[in-house]
Amino acid sequence: MDRREIALIRDAQRGSVRALEQLFRLHWPRAYRAALLVVDDAAAAEDIAQESFLAAVRALDRFDRRRPFGPWLHRIVVNRAIDWSRARTLRREIGDAAVSEPAAPARESGDRAEDIVAALSELGAEHRAVIVLRYLLDYTPGEIAELLDLPRGTVNSRLRRGLDRLEEALR
């Protein structure tokens, strides 16, 4: 973690709104994008990223400045996104008729970017999360295993399967 980020966290802990805003602006795009790619629903992604930042604000006083902020935030974002995706697909507890809510389409502008969002949406949430952590947020498989509390072999197999499916879809 660079010195600038450490300083921003310290200043935010001391009450600087400006420092908090810089931290927010620094991390929002990736947090939002990560959530969007996992849940494939723009409104839900906004909620998830926002809730994750709120959790960060609530825990700010106790945050250890020696630890990097990004992985901590990403863990919250990705786990919440996985939870949301699972909840959307398994709601029969309340009766099938009440729950058929199609996901809102992701707001995309690029062509290939749109394709990859569509291709990702074909995968399960766990697979999407692993792909997003590896290729958007640049974590190693070992770090992903730790972040998601998964065996490393599971991470590797999900990465492999996820990439195979993406390649197939984008051909």
């Binding site: 602006r25 939002y32 809730e51 709120l54 699972r86 690029g110």
Partner: protein, 361 residues
């Protein structure tokens, strides 16, 4: 295929960013506001304690002051807020400040102005009640899936399998049952004012105490005795035993054989089984754990304890100490306390259930 480049081209949403920033900034301002007050209160508390200690040193009546202060404070070294739960899962609480879901990281979400609530069997939904309504709600945001207006509603309880569920509740002294999607609401029987209990497992069997004091498993079994002053009904997690707590005793029924095992233990106010079947009870100011038939005290304090919930992993017990405005987590020999509950939840909430994440990784 360069996956990384493609993922980075997925656009962020500028408007969403501005909306989120305004919410985060407001929460940060509120944090500063809340943050400042406890310091002042802590100072005042420290001054009050010092005065009380001085008084105790001077006179015998002073000792009473010290004891009073101790009673007021409850557990020392309590955390000033619920920063984090000691075990994974989501906790549901309800009271004057509404119904809340608390996550393991301490974040909490208010679901609405409900006074009682319970989880659905797999923790996907919440059934909540006001005095004149029950509502099935989403724990993620409190949105209402359906609701029913009924008079004098109490003790909603959700049971059944993942694909076919029922909700039992009391309305105007009658036990009623409605399907999980809000259809087919019907009265079943007269009942005393304690919560009905769905038998765990993939079946729909409901236990309750009838108006005459008999314990009934709806359509399947009834106790041979009538019981006075019933307080709660709790199933063991395997669904083989049903515990009735009364003001004077605990009765463990085996509905298969009809056998009832009675333990004379007065003043038990709450009971709960861990997922492995270990029974814990709250009795006056103590928390007791049953290893066999004999209970042992695992925690006691000066004030009366109220409510009980096991953590989903069975390692922690949560009870409350309303006189000190504290929650107390007991895990083996460890005791963790959290203060200022009323301020955090807008009242003194009851513990409505601590469930595992519905989709563990």
């Amino acid at each position: 295929m360069n996956v990384k480049r493609l993922l980075e081209r997925v656009p962020s949403d500028r408007e969403a960013e501005e909306r989120a920033w305004s919410v985060v900034r407001a929460a940060y301002a509120e944090r500063e506001h809340v943050h400042a007050r406890p310091r002042r209160r802590l100072m005042l508390a420290a001054v009050a304690l010092a005065v009380a200690v001085s008084a105790a040193a001077l006179s015998p009546p002073g000792r009473a002051v010290v004891n009073a202060v101790r009673r007021t404070i409850g557990i020392s070294h309590a955390a000033p807020a619920l920063f984090r739960m000691p075990a994974p899962g989501r906790l549901l609480v309800s009271g004057g400040g509404g119904t809340w879901v608390v996550a393991m990281d301490g974040s909490k979400r208010r679901l609405g102005d409900y006074t009682q609530a319970a989880w659905s069997p797999h923790g996907l939904y919440v059934i909540a009640a006001t005095s004149n309504e029950i509502a099935a709600i989403e724990p993620s945001d409190g949105s209402v899936r359906w609701s029913l207006a009924r008079p004098k509603v109490a003790f909603p309880r959700w049971g059944g399998s993942r694909t076919d569920t029922r909700i039992a509740y009391l309305s105007d002294g009658r036990l009623r049952v409605v399907a999980g999607d809000g259809t087919g609401d019907a009265a079943e029987a007269g009942t005393v004012r304690i919560a009905p209990a769905w038998r765990p497992g993939d079946r729909r069997q409901l236990a309750f105490v009838a108006s005459d004091g008999q314990v009934l498993l709806l359509g399947a079994w009834r106790s041979s005795h009538r019981y006075a002053e019933p307080r709660s009904l709790v199933w063991s997690p395997d669904g083989k035993s049903l515990l009735l707590v009364t003001a004077r005793q605990l009765i463990l029924f085996d509905p298969a054989s009809g056998h009832a095992n009675v333990l004379r233990l007065r003043d038990v106010s709450a009971a709960a089984f861990s997922r492995r079947g270990q029974l814990a009870v709250v009795r006056r100011n103590a928390l007791l754990l049953f290893d066999g038939e004999e209970p042992r005290t695992v925690f006691s304090t000066r004030g009366r304890l109220r409510g009980l919930a096991w953590s989903p992993n069975g390692r922690w017990l949560l009870t409350t100490l309303p006189s000190a405005d504290q929650w107390i987590f007991v895990g083996g020999r460890r005791v963790l306390a959290v203060s200022h509950i009323a301020r955090q939840f807008g009242g003194t909430p009851s513990l409505d259930g601590w469930v595992t994440d519905p989709y563990p990784g």
